[in-house]
């Protein structure tokens, strides 16, 4: 054990900021992170064991107990739930011989819940070890488990065992791209990256930043911060080193555009990062890739290697006095790491808790140095802006929302997948384009966004001042139980809250209980008032974007579909609220009394 741990530590120079990688290596070698390994790591890194465990236990995909030979994660999403999720769950429990959250007696299977894994256009889906299986049916699940029982690997069952994980064929065999239309900015075929970079490096760093500023590009992760301004601040910030981080922790339920960009146009993303590095003056870049996309890791590493071979990454890029390289940092299962400061904490080997701001990452980010964190799509857009011109990009979209954006469309429509839309198009137009079927509600930007009515809001426009979509678009038809969806979203936020601040950690649970209460037919007008008031509290006082938006599934559906709530409310009779179960309360007392009597007698 000591020797093995020492080998792993040596790989990272016993640098505790690389704890995420170290924990992954331990887990991939031993199956889990044992107490013994934790103690050995603690000694090697001059940390306490509890300090290591603090990080390990934060992330969903690290195990500190044996997790079963095959780890199976079934994505529990509202889209999967509309497509037979429950039945799959039952099937898995039956054929694996254990309940979710457990390992079967033989130690072969561990069944685990997980939130959206970025495959909403081909759900139901699950991860088995490093492999994903999509468009699941009970029969397909039975076949997969039978294969595992017969000693086959997940790769063999998926038919990718003979394919090279570094090649696109491997990725394509596992998941579909579903790119549904051709737009002006993304997924352009056969781009000549050496020439494109050579042209870009003809420009001075300040010119690059000016061009990006003039393009009007705003961050595509959702917040919409002007990219040029961020880079200007980064260029002007003082720091021995500066870092470029690509946020590929695409965790918002319903979004999968970054997965497709990284599959189809990884060069655009890398080129965008190199251009950013040239502009800001950075020598090191990181792609923070969510662990759900493990099947993209080898492929992306190959793309980076190819760039190095062509002299586009590494020292003296294209013969210039410009060094820049990129490494991939794997996440380990935490939605909160999509927040840029939580992501940076994670890159430093810590729990993914958002930092107190100020200072902002562009002043003090990764390892305390100026750091520009941008979304995958932002970098891809930059690669095109620099190739075509700011004016060209600016002419697309609207005055305040320039260019195009990618939508990940899922739910009740004929053609789920990736769409490139120009900012400024209406919701109705998008719904027609994707073949929405009898839509009632549209969830814009995932749970953290807004639930709008397909009827009332059809003429609203996609742009930063109206529907400022982060890329996730889920369509729910008239037959969907919207409040069930709200409950699922509220549970999602409870699951994913890091817990560092009070309103999000504690308030989220109370709001989740409220929707359950109302759905159980035990809510009254007072509960709706509480939801509004407590939701406002969370929005106003939480530390990061997760907490400030966590009440939105409730608040936005209450606003658009109040009748769904009202029809479930009951009017209190007498002084007691309908949520108070007098009988149960008295029974609890009686039970406690009986327990005491029995205790005394025995």
């Amino acid at each position: 054990m000591q020797l093995k741990i020492q080998t792993i530590l040596d790989r990272y120079g016993a640098d505790k900021t690389r704890l995420m990688d170290i924990l992954w290596d331990v887990q991939r070698s031993d199956g889990f992170i044992s107490e013994e390994a934790t103690e050995a790591l603690a000694e090697g890194l001059n940390m306490s064991a509890c300090d290591i465990h603090e990080t390990a236990s934060f992330y969903h995909f690290y195990f500190t107990q044996p997790p079963g030979k095959h780890k199976i994660f079934l994505a529990d999403t509202v889209i999967a739930r509309a497509k037979g999720y429950e039945q799959l769950r039952e099937t898995l429990e039956r054929v694996c011989g254990c309940a979710f959250g457990n390992v079967d007696d033989s130690g072969t299977f561990g069944l685990y819940d997980t939130n959206c894994i970025g495959l909403s256009d081909q759900e139901p889906a699950m991860m088995v070890d490093d492999i994903v299986f999509t468009n699941l049916t009970p029969e397909k699940v039975e076949r997969i488990i039978a294969g595992l029982k017969a000693g086959k690997s997940a790769e063999t069952i998926a038919g990718v065992d003979r394919l090279d994980p570094a090649k696109i064929e491997y990725v394509e065999a596992l998941v579909e791209d579903n790119i549904q239309n051709e737009g002006p900015v993304f997924f352009r075929a056969d781009r000549d990256y050496p020439t494109l970079l050579e042209n870009a490096l003809e420009m001075l760093p300040d010119e690059i930043i000016e061009e990006v500023t003039n393009s009007g590009l705003r961050g595509r992760g959702g917040a919409g911060f002007p990219t040029g301004l961020k880079w200007r601040l980064g260029r002007d910030a003082e720091g021995e080193e500066k870092y470029i981080i690509c946020n590929a922790d695409e965790g918002e339920p319903g979004t999968f555009k970054d997965r497709v960009l990284l599959t189809r146009s990884p060069g655009d993303v890398l080129l965008g990062m190199i251009i950013a590095a040239w502009g800001i003056g950075s020598r090191q870049g990181i792609i923070y890739l969510r662990a759900e996309y493990w099947y993209l890791k080898a492929y992306l590493e190959q793309q980076i290697e190819d760039f190095r071979k062509h002299g586009l990454l590494g020292n003296n890029i294209l013969g210039k006095n410009f060094d820049f390289d990129i490494r991939i940092q794997m996440g380990a299962g935490a939605y909160i790491c999509g927040d840029e400061t939580a992501l940076i904490e994670s890159c430093e080997g810590k729990r993914g808790t958002p930092r107190v701001k100020p200072p902002y990452p562009i002043q003090q980010g990764y390892l305390g140095m100026p750091t520009s964190v941008n979304n995958v799509e932002t970098f891809a857009a930059v690669s095109r802006i620099i190739a075509k011109s700011a004016d060209w990009f600016n002419a697309l979209g609207t005055d305040e929302s320039t260019g195009t954006r990618l939508l990940s469309v899922s739910g009740d429509c004929e053609r789920p997948g990736i769409y490139e839309i120009e900012w400024g198009v209406s919701l109705n137009k998008v719904l027609r384009m994707v073949g929405a079927v009898d839509p009632m509600a549209v969830q814009i930007s995932g749970p953290s966004g807004e639930c709008v009515s397909a009827i009332q809001d059809g003429e609203r426009l996609f742009c930063y001042s109206d529907l400022s979509c982060n890329g996730s678009l889920m369509i729910f038809n008239r037959h969907r139980d919207l409040l069930d969806i709200v409950e699922n979203f509220m549970r999602f936020f409870v699951d994913e809250s890091c817990g560092i601040c009070v309103p999000c950690r504690a308030g989220g649970v109370d709001l989740y209980q409220k929707i359950r209460l109302i759905r159980a037919g035990r809510g009254s007008e007072k509960d709706l008032a509480d939801i509004r008031s407590w939701g406002t509290l969370m929005h106003a006082t939480s530390r990061c974007g997760l907490g400030t938006t966590a009440a939105k599934p409730l608040l936005t559906t209450l606003d658009k579909f109040p009748e769904l709530y009202e029809k479930l409310l009951v009017t209190p009779e007498g002084p007691l609220l309908p949520s108070f179960d007098l009988k149960a309360a008295l029974q609890a007392h009686e039970q406690a009394y009986q327990d005491l009597v029995q205790e005394k007698q025995s």
Partner: protein, 234 residues
């Protein structure tokens, strides 16, 4: 650089970049805090110091003051938010003041009085969290932990600098933990400091409790408000 800001309409002079919560205290305006301690790095976890800054609600411990800032502390809506956050904590854990060793010297209890809390508006959860009694000199009463992070950030092994306290898991599953071997190495004085540092009755020094008679307990001698406002020097 000297600047001017207003707090509840009163103009005050401060140094650019000073923490709002300190500036307020220096000018006689009490803002409750449960994680923040003057002179120590800001933790920003409890949010009990939430005030309105130029119209937006912000935690006062996280805000560096700048010229022209308009701050509302005692405006009713934001004052009620602070109260609600304290109530959330009372409902989330088990805080039975009358039977708690920390009663009278507990910051959560004292702040509860300051915000005028009578009962929590949130449903009490009565969590069952196992206590940690393994360390020789202290124990953790986990169902009182408010996850302020003070012990995690500020208590270190003197010899190696390693963390002694930590928080496992996340969200509702979060749990305060202690490294028993390191805790057993803590000198008595450090154990006392850790227990004092804890704003609630979670870290308790073994062999010490209920020592001061009612009426002569810490916050009865001098209230938490008086203590916060007194310390003017930096």
């Amino acid at each position: 650089m000297s600047i001017r800001i207003t707090i509840d309409g009163h103009e005050v002079i401060a140094q650019h970049g000073d923490r709002l919560v300190d500036v307020a205290a220096d000018n006689g305006v009490y803002i409750p805090t449960l994680c923040y301690q003057r002179g120590k790095p800001c933790l920003g976890t409890c949010r009990a110091c939430s005030v309105r800054v130029n119209g937006n609600v912000m935690a006062a411990c996280t805000v560096p003051v700048s010229d022209g800032m308009e701050v509302e502390v005692n405006e009713p809506e934001v004052a009620d938010m602070r109260k609600a956050l304290v109530e959330l904590l009372f409902a989330e854990g088990n805080h039975n003041c009358p039977s708690c060793e920390k009663s009278g010297r507990c910051e959560l209890q004292a702040v509860g009085y300051e915000v005028g809390m009578m009962v929590s508006r949130f449903p009490y959860r009565f969590p069952v969290r196992e206590r940690e009694t393994a360390p020789e000199k202290l124990w953790l009463e986990r169902d009182r932990c408010i996850f302020c992070q003070r012990c995690v950030e500020f208590v270190r092994d003197k010899e190696t600098g390693r963390k002694i306290f930590s928080i496992d898991h996340r969200g509702t599953h979060a749990s305060i933990e202690v490294d028993v071997a390191l805790a057993n190495k803590m000198p008595d004085e450090q154990v006392r400091e850790a227990a004092e540092l804890c704003p609630v009755g979670c870290i308790i020094e073994k062999g010490l409790g209920y020592n001061d008679p009612i009426g002569r307990r810490k916050f009865e001698i001098k209230s938490i408000r008086e203590r916060a406002l007194k310390r003017k020097h930096k």
